[in-house]
Symmetry: C2
């Protein structure tokens, strides 16, 4: 496809098409202050804002002003992946109960992926399900975690081991929030953007090769284009397979390796996007070994990940430990770990038919 120029001014929107559970995604500048957009989706009864200690001082008052007059309680969580736990979900549920949020109330999840995932899970469980809005403030959340209804928390035995498929009422992505995002987090978000090109759209991948310097420099037009295209691709995949019974699993490209890295190093020391970047390279390396990806493509992938300022070297782990951690991921079927491999840039396949020796060689870091 040809990537059209982004409109830098004005709001763009698209829809996740899931029948009765369809919802809009809004992308634009100043949306956290856009009363009209927010009012359309925030119920008029008691609601709870869930955010964290980093985001609250930056954007909470803006959101409160936009919704002045509404009954909004708040629950401010410590910042970090290590707080994406059942205990935090339980704390949010306590806050919902004290604020007497009823079945027709909602949660407003203001923050990055951790806030969206844990607040969405609390919304899924409280009173067997209340509404929630995703107000993502990181690139990773805007292109990935806030879209598609995967909610959850981590468990010592595995990432997102506890969770629900539960769709939000709307996703409101304010591009202004990316101006305060630390460099490292911006880059982690770019890992997921690169993923969409790799799994489904070779033209977008090629566009990214040219646009990467502008993306790293936070050019708003380039970012708007990258976010919209990423959301469009995710929307298409999720609409076709909401509960990941099949094709949706390709969105996990690089994630089985990446989750093992996060689990091995303790959640939080690697950013999710950093682990995914390395995982995508490992999956690409395995694809080369399997003969489904040529080495020129591999070199382009490696170069784009480097241009995004992302790491490429996995931590040193024994192969047996890699395999143990990867098996705790959710993609084991009939006792065989399934992996997502590339058949060239822009095409991913889910497969349990890889060569074990090739996998082990990849994990051991053999050249």
């Amino acid at each position: 496809m040809a990537v059209p120029a982004a409109k830098s001014a004005g709001m763009q929107s698209l829809t996740i098409d899931l029948g009765a559970r369809s919802y809009p995604i809004y992308i634009g500048s100043g949306l956290l202050a856009a009363r009209k957009v927010l009012e359309r989706h925030v119920p008029q009864t008691s609601c709870l804002i869930v955010t964290n200690t980093t985001v609250a001082p930056l954007y909470l008052s803006r959101l409160r002003q936009a919704l002045a007059g509404r009954a909004l309680a708040e629950c401010v969580i410590e910042d970090g992946e290590q707080y994406k736990t059942l205990a935090t979900a339980s704390r949010i549920i306590d806050a919902l109960a004290s604020a007497q949020v009823h079945r027709d109330g909602a949660i407003l999840a203001l923050g990055g992926g951790v806030i969206g995932d844990v607040a969405g899970f609390a919304a899924a469980c409280y009173q067997r399900g209340i509404g929630y809005l995703q107000l993502p403030t990181t690139l990773l959340a805007q292109v990935d975690s806030a879209v598609g209804g995967k909610t959850g928390v981590n468990h010592p035995a595995g990432k997102n081991l506890i969770g629900a498929f539960y769709q939000p009422l709307a996703v409101v992505s304010d591009l202004d929030t990316l101006t305060t995002l630390p460099d490292r987090e911006l880059r982690a978000g770019l890992a997921e953007v690169i993923k969409y090109g790799l799994i489904a759209d070779a033209d977008f991948f090629a566009w990214l090769e040219g646009a990467m310097p502008r993306l790293v420099a936070r050019d708003p037009e380039a970012l708007a284009t990258a976010i919209r295209r990423s959301c469009e691709m995710k929307a298409a995949v999720v609409s076709a397979d909401e509960r990941e019974s099949g094709r949706r699993a390709i969105l996990n490209f690089g994630h089985t390796f990446g989750h093992a890295i996060e689990a091995a190093t303790g959640y939080g020391s690697w950013l999710h996007g950093e682990a995914v970047a390395v995982g995508m390279l490992q999956a690409a390396a395995l694809s080369v070994r399997q003969g489904s990806l040529d080495s020129v493509s591999y070199t382009r992938i490696r170069a784009l990940i480097a241009a995004a300022g992302l790491p490429s070297a996995p931590p040193a782990l024994p192969v047996s430990e890699w395999l143990r951690l990867m098996r705790m991921d959710k993609k084991v079927a009939g006792n065989r770990l399934r992996l997502i491999l590339l058949h060239g840039i822009g095409e991913a396949v889910i497969s349990a038919e890889y060569d074990d020796a090739a996998l082990e060689a990849t994990l051991s870091g053999a050249a």
Copy 2:
């Protein structure tokens, strides 16, 4: 309707019709030992049996024998409503992770309503949803809690405040388990059976008036009839309104009052069915005050509840405390508590249009 004579021998089955999520209910003697029935629904991969310290010595080995050769881990919970908590759900999830149960595995919930609710909730959350079988061993669970997909745990602020709508793979009700049920629990189960007559079937209510002595004496034919008819009525309501957006709420007849009793007295000192029995009488009394139920019908209801050996007097609570606890129930819409009232025996309506003074008079126990 005319209630046909139960077949005392052989298995009966009916279906909860929910499209792709439809599932069968089996009712009969010896079903926990019926390998063929169980094998049809238990996945061949690693599964986890969840049961409690009372049920395990009675029925666990029977179930294990029936499924000999399968990889079945177990998780045995303390017995009692006070263990229906997020902490117990978390413990079950730990057990699933250590047993390396994967997405294609399942939970076998062997026990009463607490086990079914908490194990079903753990199944809903683990890996964003694995399968589970309901193997109910109490009358209450066989006629109510195991059927319909409501799962959840209690919270200090309210009963079932945390949960999910999540349907089982199958419900297998072995009538033999009722032989070991304490009298008090049998009677608590009869409260829910009476409820079905009250909300939807005057003929069934009349049948119960005649059959109550045989039910209390555990006549298997009478019990089989009562369970099947209760499941049929629940199936019809749930099939029409799975997520309780409307009509399903009539199944909560007596429950808003009953939940307040349970919360006020600490979960576990009153059995759920006992609280519901008293709650049904309160709802009936309010219906009389509102003029929608005649006093002869009220007297019949009171007599049937007494014949089942169930309590009729609510605990003494200030009206303000009743109202506070009832508002924590999940049936508040637009800030107005909705109640389920009777328009004669066999017809229930959901209404927010009751008289506040009549409600307060009912709660204060005025004659």
